[in-house]
C-alpha cells in the first residue's frame, strides 16, 4: 500500500456488517475501501451462530424490517461468489412454559398478518417431527423462512464480491486516527498510511465506540458476552435449528420461572443449530463482562444443562470445544443505522445478536445514506439521535475472572 491514497468512502470493520456495507457501496458504484485490522470475520462474526431470523421481534415496523433484511439473503445466495452454507430450512421457537403460550399464539397471528410464513406445531406434532425433543416442550412456532449460514464464509463472500465490483480491501490494517477538516470527515489514518476520504462508515461492532471517540462522537454500544458449545459430529439428532421462547425474555432482561439461578444470572437461553459438517452448536448466554472472551466453565455448564432440558439426548454427546464472543449491544435492542452530527461519519453497528441477520440490509441502507438517498425502508427509529444529542458512551463492564 502506498503511503497515501484516496477513496470515496472508507468502511471500518471486516465483520458481516462491514463487509456487507463495502459490498453494497461497491455494487452501487462508490469507490470504497474496507479497512480491517485483522482478517475478515476476525472478531464477533466468527464467535456467533449464523442465524438469519425474524422470530425475535414482535409484529411491527422492526419485524417487517427484519423480514426485508432476510429476503436479501435469498438474493445474495445467487450472486455471492462463495458458498456460505445457506440453509433456508426455518427455525422453530420452542415453548416450555404454559404461561408463554398465549403470547406465542398472538405472535403467530400477528406475524401471519405481516405476511410471514409461520406454522404452529402442538406437542404431538413437535414430537412427531423431532423424536429427540424433551417431554416438557409444549409447542413450537416455526418461522419457515428463517435460515442458518456460515458467518465466516458470508464475510469472505461479501469481501470478495466487493472487490470484484471495484472495492479496495485492506485486511491487517489498523485504524490509528480519524481526521476532520472544515467540520467534516477528511481522512482515515492507518498503520499503513493515510486514506483521504469524505465518508467514513463505522461498522466495527464492539470497537465502534473507540472509533467514534476519535472524532468526539459518543456511540452508546457495549460488549455483551455470549458462549457457544460445539458438539461432536452426528447426523439425525435434530432436523433444523431451534430457539427457546425464553431467549426473547432474556434478551429483554425478563425473568423465567423454570431455570436454575446460574441460568438466570448468565442470561442462558437455549439455542441449537445443526451445522452442515455434522457438529451441533448450542447456546446461548448474555452478560456484561467487558471484552473478556474466555469461556467460563460455570456458564458452559449452565448452557449445557439448559440444552439438556430441551434435547435430553444431548447429555450423551461429547463437547468438542466452546467459545465466547462479545456482541455489540445498545440499550434498547435496536441497532444504530445512522448518520451522525459529524458530516461524513456514519454508524452501522450495535446489532447485538442480529448482526448476521441484518448485515445485508444494513449494507444496502448505508450505501443509500452515503450516496445521499433516502433509505428504501424507514430507519429513522434506528438513528443514533434516539439516545439524545451525542449521548454519553456506555461503560464496558468488568472482566469475569
Amino acid at each position: 500500500m502506498s503511503s497515501k491514497r484516496t477513496a470515496g468512502a472508507v468502511v471500518i470493520g471486516g465483520g458481516a456488517v462491514g463487509t456487507a456495507v463495502a459490498c453494497y457501496l461497491a455494487m452501487d458504484g462508490v469507490d470504497v475501501t474496507l479497512v480491517e485490522r485483522g482478517e475478515f470475520a476476525w472478531g464477533t462474526s466468527r464467535r456467533c451462530e449464523g442465524h438469519v431470523v425474524t422470530y425475535d421481534t414482535p409484529p411491527g415496523d422492526y419485524s417487517v424490517f427484519c423480514k426485508t433484511g432476510q429476503e436479501l439473503f435469498y438474493e445474495a445466495q445467487k450472486f455471492l461468489p462463495v458458498d456460505f452454507d445457506f440453509t433456508p430450512e426455518g427455525i422453530g421457537l420452542l415453548v416450555d412454559d404454559e404461561s408463554h403460550l398465549e403470547t406465542v399464539k398472538a405472535n403467530y397471528e400477528g406475524k401471519k398478518k405481516e405476511g410471514f410464513d409461520v406454522t404452529l406445531w402442538d406437542r404431538d406434532e413437535l414430537r412427531h417431527r423431532e423424536p429427540n425433543i424433551g417431554d416438557n416442550v409444549l409447542a413450537c412456532l416455526n418461522f419457515n423462512n428463517d435460515c442458518t449460514l456460515n458467518p465466516m464464509r458470508l464475510c469472505f463472500g461479501l469481501a470478495k464480491h466487493a472487490e470484484a465490483n471495484g472495492a479496495t480491501i485492506l485486511p491487517r490494517t489498523r485504524v490509528t486516527n480519524l481526521r476532520m477538516e472544515n467540520g467534516r470527515v477528511s481522512g482515515v489514518e492507518t498503520d499503513k498510511g493515510l486514506i483521504a476520504t469524505k465518508n467514513v462508515i463505522l461498522s466495527s461492532g464492539v470497537w465502534t465506540p473507540q472509533m467514534g471517540a476519535m472524532l468526539g462522537v459518543n456511540i452508546p454500544i457495549r460488549p455483551r458476552q455470549g458462549h457457544i458449545i460445539v458438539t461432536e459430529r452426528v447426523k439425525g439428532l435434530l432436523g433444523k435449528a431451534y430457539v427457546e421462547y425464553g431467549y426473547l425474555l432474556t434478551k429483554h432482561g425478563l425473568k423465567r420461572e423454570n431455570v436454575t439461578p446460574d441460568m438466570d444470572k448468565f442470561g442462558v437461553a437455549f439455542v441449537i443449530e445443526p451445522s452442515s459438517a455434522g457438529t451441533v452448536l448450542i447456546g446461548s448466554s448474555r452478560r456484561f463482562v467487558g471484552m473478556d472472551i474466555r469461556p467460563h466453565p460455570a456458564v458452559m455448564r449452565a448452557v449445557a444443562e439448559r440444552g439438556n432440558q430441551f434435547f435430553p439426548t444431548l447429555s450423551d454427546m461429547r463437547i468438542l470445544r466452546c467459545y465466547a464472543g462479545v456482541r455489540p449491544a445498545t440499550t434498547d435492542e435496536l441497532p444504530i443505522i445512522s448518520t451522525t452530527h459529524v458530516p461524513g461519519l456514519f454508524v452501522g453497528a450495535g446489532h447485538e445478536g442480529l448482526g448476521i441477520s441484518l448485515s445485508l440490509i444494513t449494507g444496502k441502507i448505508m450505501s443509500e445514506l452515503v450516496r445521499g438517498q433516502a433509505p428504501f425502508i424507514d430507519t429513522s427509529y434506528m438513528s443514533i439521535d434516539r439516545f439524545g444529542f451525542n449521548p454519553p458512551a456506555l461503560p464496558a463492564g468488568e472482566a469475569s475472572v
Binding site: P131, N132, E232, R233, V234, K235, G236, P312, D316
Partner: protein, 102 residues
Amino acid sequence: MFKKVSASKGKIVTIYFEGQPVQTEEGMTVAAAVLDPSHGWSRTSHGGQKRGPYCQMGVCHECLMTIDGIPNQQACLTMVVEGMQVYRQDGAPDFHKENSHE
C-alpha cells in the same frame, strides 16, 4: 512412510479393520495401526475428503472411527485389544436413539 521407534515386541493381537484381520502389537493405539500405508485413512469429512490420524494426542479429531460399534471414537487415544472391530467413518455418524437414556 511410518516406522516404529521402539524395537520392543509386545504380544501380537489381531484387530479387524473394515472386517479384515490386521496383526498388530499390544500397546499400540488404533490410530498407529491405521497409519500403516495399506490402510492410511480413518474417516471422510462432510465434503468427502479422506482424513487420517494427525496429532496423535487427542486434539485434532481427524482420527475419529467407529470402534466396537461406538462411533466418533478417537483412535489415537484407544489402545488395540484382541478382536477389536474398527471401521472408518463416512461423514458424521447417524445419531441412534438407542444411545439415549430411553
